[in-house]
């Protein structure tokens, strides 16, 4: 308790609520997570490198990284348009559409996975028209990208919406009255204001895509070296009872995710300061 020195407060329950919070956090989150790091710490460096840098694992990193990057980029572009339309324009059905943006958060990932496969497979809803044209989506890298775009869709929209709502109309009016045309106003006044939120949304969408499993495994076809994502590789190693190999890859992924989380926090801190000035 000496470390967590509290200010004097008349409200009771500090010890009880903090104690429970720390105990629950420790038991459910921190102790199990540390198990992954400790298990890997017991490996020799050569074993670790062999586990996390074999050609098959490298191919999975590449696919996970570039498919997530592409999905987050597409979501940043269309998310900006969707957020703009939902905040600025009026049209029938807008409230329903606004609520529906959260569907990828609410729909279980396995359901999304089989639904996307039913659409893009060879005899699927769109696949039966696309495959004769030579466009293969299911069981290719593009399929992975489509699934990751679906699950990352709400992030950019939801981080941009509140910022767009709070933008002062005076900003645009001032720009216009000083002689800027609409494009100049958007490029030089609006986009710099929106940029921190856009970047946050992009990073959140990217981070979610890196770890995604359920929606991808059905549509990707899971071919080693080609359409195998990193989380699937962890499952494969577990099924072969290669716990050390699985954990070593997990530690690489955890390090990347925590790095991203830190980056997102820094962006938000920076944007708050930027806003105050």
């Amino acid at each position: 308790m000496s470390l967590l020195r509290k200010q004097h407060s008349v409200l009771p329950g500090f010890g009880l609520s903090l104690g429970f919070t720390l105990a629950y956090l420790g038991l459910i989150v921190l102790v199990p997570l540390s198990a992954a790091f400790l298990k890997t710490a017991g490996m020799s460096w050569a074993d670790f490198v062999a586990a996390v840098a074999s050609p098959r694992v490298m191919a999975a990193y590449r696919l996970s990284f570039f498919a997530s990057l592409a999905a987050a980029s597409v979501n940043a572009f269309f998310g900006l348009i969707v957020a703009w339309v939902l905040v600025r324009y009026a049209f029938p059905g807008k409230r329903i559409l606004d609520a529906l943006v959260d569907l990828p958060f609410a729909l279980p990932t396995a359901v999304a996975g089989i639904a996307l496969t039913a659409i893009y497979a060879k005899n699927g809803w769109l696949g039966q028209w696309l495959e004769p044209q030579g466009v293969k989506i299911a069981f290719t890298e593009i399929g992975v990208f489509v699934a990751l775009t679906f699950i990352g869709l709400p992030f950019v929209v939801r981080t941009l919406q509140p910022v767009l709502e709070e933008l002062q109309p005076e900003l645009e009016e001032a720009a216009a009255s000083l002689g800027a045309n609409r494009w100049q106003t958007i490029a030089r006044v609006l986009l710099p204001e929106l940029f921190p939120a856009l970047l946050t949304g992009f990073a959140l969408s990217f981070a979610r895509a890196l770890g995604e499993y359920g929606s991808v495994v059905f549509i990707s076809g899971n071919m080693p070296m080609r359409t195998e994502i990193v989380p699937l590789l962890i499952i494969t190693k577990l099924e072969q009872y290669d716990y050390r190999g699985a954990t070593a890859i997990a530690v690489v992924m955890l390090t990347a995710s925590f790095g991203l989380l830190l980056l997102i926090n820094l962006i938000q801190k920076w944007s708050r300061r930027h806003h105050r000035v």
């Binding site: 609410a106 809803w125 009016e173 770890g211 499952i235 577990l238 997990a250």
Partner: protein
Amino acid sequence: MAVVVTSTLVKPRALAGAPLRATQDPRWVRWLLTGIALGFLAFFLLLPLAAVFGEALRRGVGAYFAAVGDADALASVKLTLIAALISVPANVVFGVAAAWCIAKYSFRGKSLLTTLIDLPFAVSPVISGLIYVLVFGAQGWLGPWLIEHDVKIIFAVPGIVLATTFVTFPFVARELIPLMQAQGSEEEYAAITLGANGWQTFWRVTLPNIKWGLLYGVILCNARAMGEFGAVSVVSGHIRGETNTMPLHVEILYNEYNFVGAFAVASLLAVLALVTLVLKSIVEWRHAHAHVQAHAR
């Protein structure tokens, strides 16, 4: 000042051929952007949703209800409900306790604690399952002891509950912390000053103030708890009728090429998702309403 007031009252956009306001886009831009947004959302949201119900009903209503009423399907529904009924209340108690100590007191390490609470969101679902295997699995820290005492956690219901609790861990807390911070503690101080004890203050003052935020967190937490796939997949062992939750049962049926069965169970989960979105919208609306009323007072 008077000039500004009149100009807003006249509403220039109502006049035909009047120049656009600085915040307005030309009509063709509005149509184009709305079209792109609607097309993107229809393609990525409505089409998959339609595919779930379309595929589920492909062989007719009879086949659909036969698939939903299947014994293994019902067992998976039951297990999903059990997992949610344990993990959601556990995370509610945690969320309230965490929000109470973070919002009502100041202490060192508070921002670190807030960051740590969000940690499970940054962890891949597969890794969320893996870490429990490392603790409770046969090869894990507690494995030998558990085997000796004949306690099954991994490949059994407790493992599923633990993994579900982990992935839904932050939902309630992250809803309540900013809400209780924004509300401040004046009403609680008043209650204590008037002689209420801690529990009375919580039940009669704090809880009524945070009820919409709490409900919002519970709705999101429950949706994720019932729909979680990756984490539960690692710890479940996939024993039909015993350790299969609904999303896992969808996978098994799908891999057996029983597409009607898979999509029928998936359609139940899709309905759950739609109900979640409706409830969420209602709570958002009520919450905003309550907020406005509180400010009007």
